[in-house]
């Protein structure tokens, strides 16, 4: 049974998104919530890359000895890859800020439980 790899890739991206939202919502440990959010971002990145897939596509660099019409028809779509690179950087910087906040809160409260640290303080 030959399965379309792009379709399977979309399903993987979708399941990563769902697992990420589940982890962010239901797990109590802050680090596990953050890993869930990383899953969510990775799922979206995989979705973007899968969208740029072209069966039999060549790398989108126009070398001097190429014919334009050939290149236009066979090159894979370059825009999604640029978006993913930017998104990975955004995800990394946000992750750094979140982890910094978690370190400080862990020092203050001595625990990593979201229901203890991030509950309603009644103000």
């Amino acid at each position: 049974m030959v399965v379309d790899s792009q379709l399977m890739s979309f399903f993987t991206a979708g399941s990563l998104v769902v697992i990420g939202i589940f982890a962010a919502l239901f797990l109590d440990n802050l680090i596990k919530k953050i890993i869930g959010l990383a899953f969510l971002a990775d799922g979206v990145n995989l979705f973007i890359i899968t969208m740029g897939y072209k069966p039999g596509g060549i790398v989108y660099i126009f070398l001097p000895d190429m014919v334009v019409s050939n290149f236009a028809q066979t090159a894979s779509y370059p825009l999604p890859f640029a978006l993913v690179l930017t998104n990975i950087v955004i995800g990394a910087s946000t992750l750094a800020v979140i982890l910094g906040l978690v370190i400080i809160l862990n020092k203050r409260h001595g625990s990593l439980s979201a229901s203890k640290i991030l509950r309603d303080k009644g103000e």
Binding site: L25, S115, L118, R119, D120, G122, E123
Partner: protein, 112 residues
């Protein structure tokens, strides 16, 4: 006892159940009452907009909202307790809202 006093007593009872340590002043109880009346009035007026879909549906919905509001009268203390700063609470409502938005946009287009 007048109607106002009955409502005030019921609100204080619910507030006392919610926050035992906090002193209940007249200011907070009257604030709850104001918020309650504002909430019910705004929701009723908003429901009148259903007349654009079907006038009979609007009458049914107004009657339903009135009955539900009068039966569950001190809605505001419960609403206030529900909209707290707890992360789990907020995330729950966020995901529920996401589900509602996706479902509404997906199928809400069909009848408009």
């Amino acid at each position: 006892m007048s109607f106002y006093d009955i409502i005030l007593k019921r609100i204080r009872k619910i507030q006392e159940k919610a926050e035992e340590e906090e002193p209940i002043t007249n200011v907070t109880a009257s604030a709850m009452l104001t918020a309650e009346l504002t909430l019910i009035a705004s929701v009723l007026v908003a429901v009148v907009m259903v007349r654009l879909i079907h006038p009979v549906l609007m009458i049914i919905m107004i009657a339903a909202v009135l009955i539900i509001a009068l039966m569950a009268m001190p809605i505001m203390p419960r609403l206030r307790r529900e909209q707290n700063d707890d992360l789990n609470n907020m995330m729950f409502y966020v995901v529920v809202a996401l589900g509602i938005i996706v479902a509404l946009f997906y199928w809400g287009n069909l009848n408009v």
